[in-house]
């Protein structure tokens, strides 16, 4: 177990409000990722990080920002949530460095009304 936890696990919010999801890992992994999971779209990469303060955009980054001030925490922020951002969000880490083998958190289900 890579010791990865996400919080909150469930959140309901209203359009236009800011939301921050947290991903916390305990094993000092360098590479961390945020994906969203939507029916018919599989998993799509939002943002990723390759170290403290080093982040980059993924496939669907519009409307999202991230921060990584500590190795163990990778935060995903929706500055002004929209209904299209209703989704399940998964954090993941690369096992063994910059590899394609990912270990996922349990997911955060976000509903934007």
């Amino acid at each position: 177990d890579a010791g990865i936890t996400q919080s909150p696990r469930h959140k309901v919010t209203e359009t236009g409000t800011p939301v921050t999801l947290r991903c916390h890992q305990t094993e000092n992994h360098r590479y961390m990722y945020w994906y969203r999971q939507d029916p018919g779209h599989g998993l799509r990469l939002i943002h990723y990080s390759y170290g403290v303060k080093d982040t980059d955009k993924g496939e669907v980054s519009d409307g999202y920002s991230v921060s990584r001030s500590k190795t163990e925490d990778f935060l995903l922020t929706l500055e002004s949530a929209t209904s299209s951002q209703t989704s399940v969000y998964f954090c993941a880490i690369s096992v063994g460095g910059n590899t394609g083998e990912l270990f996922f958190g349990e997911g955060s289900r976000l509903t934007v009304l």
Binding site: L43, L45, S94, G100, L102, F104, G105, E106
Partner: protein, 110 residues
């Protein structure tokens, strides 16, 4: 651009029957291919990676570079195999930026 296609959204088989979940990819280099599984209300977890060439829970997958496919197979499906399966491609540059297929929901009927 890299792309992964899983042509079947839903697949239903009877217990004991063979099952094959299809995955096709497009990528100009030599990618790593993976299968992930998500059981009901659980996190996604790695099932197979093509490099290891091992069998997990009776599943195998062979990378066919000529056909750009990485189909997942099991000779005798079990009810506990019912889950969502994702095929994923990892590029040989920046390996963690994986591209996932849309997923196939497998239902194994008793």
């Amino acid at each position: 651009a890299q792309r992964v296609t899983q042509p079947e959204k839903l697949l239903s088989v009877f217990k004991g029957a063979p099952v094959e979940l299809k995955c096709n990819y497009s990528y100009s280099g030599s990618p790593e291919l993976f299968w992930y599984v998500q059981y009901s209300r659980q996190r996604l977890q790695l099932l197979l990676r093509h490099i290891s060439r091992e069998s997990i829970k009776g599943f195998t997958a062979d990378l066919n570079k000529g056909e750009t496919s990485f189909h997942l197979k099991k000779p005798f499906a079990q009810e506990e195999d019912s889950a969502m399966y994702y095929c994923a491609l990892s590029p040989n540059t920046n390996a963690g930026k994986s591209t996932f297929g849309d997923g196939t929901t497998l239902t194994v009927k008793p």
